[in-house]
Symmetry: C2
Subunit: 227 residues, 2 copies
DNA sequence: CGTCGACTTGAGTTAACTCAAATCATGTGG
DNA sequence: CCACATGATTTGAGTTAACTCAAGTCGACG
């Protein structure tokens, strides 16, 4: 796929003419990344911002003890590292690929010029940032006010809502990443999933989870049911 | 103070001419609120956005069990409830005054018109949203990766950084609110502060805390020191 | 001076953690 | 295609940070 078509997939660039996209794509740098490659690290100076062309990227924080909290997992078309451009100058978290990926990169000044010419981009950006604030609000609620089984249930329901109606969920993340996402550790995920199984809420094999009791799972997510 | 001067204090409106501000202030509604008054509740439909003219407002989430997590405490000039305008339509959290306050309110369509006329506002908005994303990133890190003593130490250091060099911190929130902010309960705050006292990191009286060992407190915040 | 809410303290419980070990899964080279 | 090596996952046992619940103390305000 050529750059032009790649750019069209980035929601932030929606509303640009083909012509604009063409000149834009001329200044976009593409990078092929292997699995587990670091794109940037927390505290680094931002010289531009990124977006996922193909593959997946995780945005995360590490504790001094090495525990990880995943903030986002981004896929095709999603921009990341853009907060650093508008506040501070340093990345507030780290970014690493989860698999072989292609990453687009746009220099800061080029992007600023782009925004000044196309105010619509600024509005797109506001939309992107707002959505992420909303997501974070939810994550904070989960971490602070919900217990691990509730968080896990919520996350399974979220994954289910992404799929097409089927009650089967294909986990495209490892259980470790699942743990990092809901703010816990793999052992705890393992134990909770075991309990969900024995409570007949789900049937889980290695990387596929089938929801067998949607109502129960919803009740669990809302804290109205204990395992 | 008249509305015009009030509007000038709102950072989001920086860069507008006096003339623009004047026409803007004509469509701003002002509301006087008593202490503990609800401005909006999570899930409510947003018909506009707000900003603090005077007083203070907390933005928070409640667990089913009634535990509260404060997301922000906003003071003079800070806008809130704006995320709902650009994603979803419903407020992702609730807002309540902490004291007698005056709240400004701007209708959605009026604001949109304003943005379309003055692109600078959109850029200001991006800055505001970015700053909040950064704040949230930190809050998530604290909640997920740090223990209560570390969070409390961080928060005290933050309060200290707001003051003017003095090692005295005047707590302008109750201990309950302090607890809600760092994601714990008043009893735990009480016990941790007691330990900080006996470790000679601080000297605390009812509403004033004096830092007596800045290095120690910093080490505690970084997890390099246990109480 | 008394009342009410905020704060502190104590005792007991528990969810989730750590650490260690066993098991399973996957990809590689022979 | 098998055997092994490596990493992921599970399981068990023990520990702990932080919670709940209950009681007591403090402090501000009428």
């Amino acid at each position: 796929m050529d750059k032009l078509n790649l750019m069209k997939q980035v929601e932030m660039f929606q509303g640009l003419s083909d012509n604009d996209l063409k000149s834009l794509s001329a200044i976009v740098a593409l990078k092929n990344c292997t699995r587990d490659e670091t794109v940037f690290e927390e505290g680094e100076d931002a010289r531009g911002f990124y977006f996922v062309v193909s593959g997946r990227v995780k945005i995360f924080k590490l504790s001094p003890g090495g525990k990880e909290q995943i903030l986002h997992i981004f896929g095709r078309g999603e921009p990341f590292g853009e907060v650093a451009l508008f506040s501070g100058r340093k990345f507030p978290a780290s970014a690493q690929t989860l698999e072989k990926s292609r990453i687009g990169y746009l220099q800061l000044d080029a992007f600023k010029k782009l925004v000044s010419i196309h105010p619509a981009i600024a509005l797109n950006m506001i939309g992107v940032l707002s959505k992420r604030l909303r997501t974070f609000t939810e994550l904070i609620e989960q971490l602070s006010l919900r217990e691990v089984p509730e968080r896990l249930a919520s996350y399974l329901l979220y994954l289910h809502s992404l799929g097409r109606g089927s009650s089967e969920i294909k986990l495209d993340v490892t259980k470790q990443q699942l743990a990092s996402f809901v703010g816990t550790i793999p052992e705890t995920v393992s134990r909770v999933i075991k309990k969900m199984n024995s409570s007949r809420l789900i049937v889980s094999s290695s990387s596929v989870i089938k929801i067998t009791d949607m109502d129960g799972l919803k009740k669990l997510a809302e804290g109205k049911l204990k395992l």
